[in-house]
Structures are given as C-alpha cells and as structure tokens.
C-alpha cells in the first residue's frame, strides 16, 4: 500500500572525474528544462562562466553567440571550447542554451580540446 510516490528529481545530471594533461578534472553536467549547465573544474571552483546560445533566423544559417559572463575575458580558447559545445548541442537537435564554467589550471588548446571531448563523451543531449 504505497501512498506517496517519490517525485523523480527533474534535473538530470552526471558527474565524472578524470585526468586531463596531468590535472585532476571534475566535470558535472546538468540538464534543466531550458539550459544545460556544464561545470569543469581543476581548481575547486567554477572559474570563468560562459553563456553560449544558438541564434536561428528563417533565412540564414544559424549563428552562435558565445560570451564570457563572469571571469577571464582574455582567453580565446575558452570561447572556442564553448563554441564547439554549443554547436554539438545544436546538431543534436536541442535548442537549449549552454552555461559553461571552466575553472582550469592551464588554458592551452590541447587541454581545452580534451575537455570538449570529455564533455561530449559524457553528454546529456
């Protein structure tokens, strides 16, 4: 006689821990109704936060808008990583925006490529 049904938590999430170029990296991906949140941290905090979205118009191909909303604004590879992920999300037929936080020890292109790959391998879209 089960009276109360437990409510399933509405946010799907996934947490993984891996090594990227010698640095221990924690990745947490959460799927909300209207956003994806990806937290990538090597330094114990969220670091730089980016917002990436697709802008679709009727006549032209979709364009993507990636901007840093909090933190380092002079690291272009962070934006490149955000751009790669939002395009991947968009190709998987999702129009959700992406909030990406990168708290990294090094901002080299190799690290960011590995991070993008790791997020894509553990994606929720």
């Amino acid at each position: 006689m089960d009276v109360t049904q437990p409510i399933r938590f509405p946010v799907t999430q996934k947490a993984v821990s891996l090594d990227i170029k010698g640095n221990k990296t924690e990745i947490v991906i959460s799927k909300y109704d209207d956003r994806f949140l990806v937290i990538v941290t090597q330094i114990g905090c969220m670091g730089t936060i980016l917002h990436a979205r697709k802008e679709e118009s009727v006549s032209t191909d979709p364009t993507y808008n990636v901007s840093v909303v909090f933190g380092k604004r002079d690291e272009p590879w962070l934006l490149a990583c955000g751009r790669q992920l939002i395009e991947h999300i968009s190709c998987s037929d999702s129009s959700r925006h992406l909030v990406l936080s990168l708290g990294l020890k090094d901002h080299s292109p190799g690290t960011l490529k590995d991070i993008a790959l790791a997020v894509i391998n553990n994606r929720l879209w």
């Binding site: 006689m1 009276v3 109360t4 049904q5 437990p6 409510i7 399933r8 938590f9 509405p10 946010v11 999430q13 947490a15 821990s17 221990k24 924690e26 947490v28 959460s30 909300y32 109704d33 209207d34 956003r35 949140l37 937290i39 941290t41 330094i43 114990g44 905090c45 969220m46 936060i49 917002h51 909303v69 909090f70 909030v99």
Partner: protein, 152 residues
C-alpha cells in the same frame, strides 16, 4: 482467503521512523553523489503547497545552488563573494535578473552563512518574498545539516 493475504501483507509491512515518509505533505527524494572534491545533493520539498527543487553542488572552494520553484527552468544566475578588506558581501547578477533580483538576497545571505563563494541559480517568480524566504530557510537548514555552514 483475503484475510490470510492481509495477515501476510501486514507481517511484511515495515514500520518506518522516517518522518518524511509518514507525512503526506512532503515527498522528498534525495540523491547524493559523493566524490572527494565534488558533492552533489538534490532534493525536492513541498512547502506551503509549492514544489521546490534544490540542487547543491559543493566544490572545494565554492558552492553552487539551483533552486527550482515548480519547474526545472534554470532561472537567473547570481554570484556572491566576501570582499576585502571589510567582511562585506558583493553580489552580482550574471545571467538575467537585472530588474527583479529574486535570488540575489539568497546569494548574499548564503555567503554570510558559509564564508565561501556562492553561485545561485533560481527561478522563483519575482514579487514573491514569501516563496523566496521559504526556499531560503529550507536551503539553509539543509546546508547546516550537510555541514557546509561555518560556526558563527
């Protein structure tokens, strides 16, 4: 016979001391994912007939909190931290929330209670101070039980 089945079922019935199961008003589902550096706690509560969802991600030097009011929309994002040299708290809106600031007060008070940098995402509708206060109270209670708050 039906009475035999009833006897059997009663003998298998477990009596629980957990008040959350006994109280019909709260349906709480808790998930905890624990890793040495990242701890995720999620739970849902019905407070004053409104369903709140809470997601707390504790990183080594920061806590991220999402508060969902009825829906699982992300809402507005705020960051708050202690500023030097005085121990005051600075709050800023990162995404959305420029005109209604629901959630910025929560972020500020969480920093005061925990002493850590805080990022809050919250979709509580604006002009609902009661909902905001209720959610905040529950959240602080949970943070205290998890040991994330510092001693006053």
């Amino acid at each position: 016979m039906a009475s035999e089945e009833l006897d059997r079922n009663f003998s298998q019935l477990k009596v629980t001391k957990d008040s959350s199961d006994c109280n019909g008003n709260n349906s709480i589902l808790e998930q905890e994912t624990v890793n040495s550096d990242v701890q995720i706690t999620c739970f849902t509560e019905d407070l004053h007939d409104v369903t709140f969802h809470f997601q707390i991600i504790r990183l080594a030097k920061q806590i991220y909190v999402w508060i969902g009011c009825k829906t699982a929309k992300f809402g507005h994002l705020y960051a708050a931290a202690i500023t030097r040299p005085n121990n005051t708290v600075a709050v800023t809106s990162i995404l959305g929330g420029t005109s209604d600031n629901t959630g910025s007060g929560i972020a500020r008070r969480l920093v005061l209670k925990t002493g850590l940098n805080i990022i809050v995402a919250c979709n509580i509708p604006k002009d609902s101070p009661m909902l905001e206060a209720t959610a905040e109270r529950k959240l602080i209670e949970k943070l205290r039980s998890l040991g994330y708050t510092r001693q006053a």
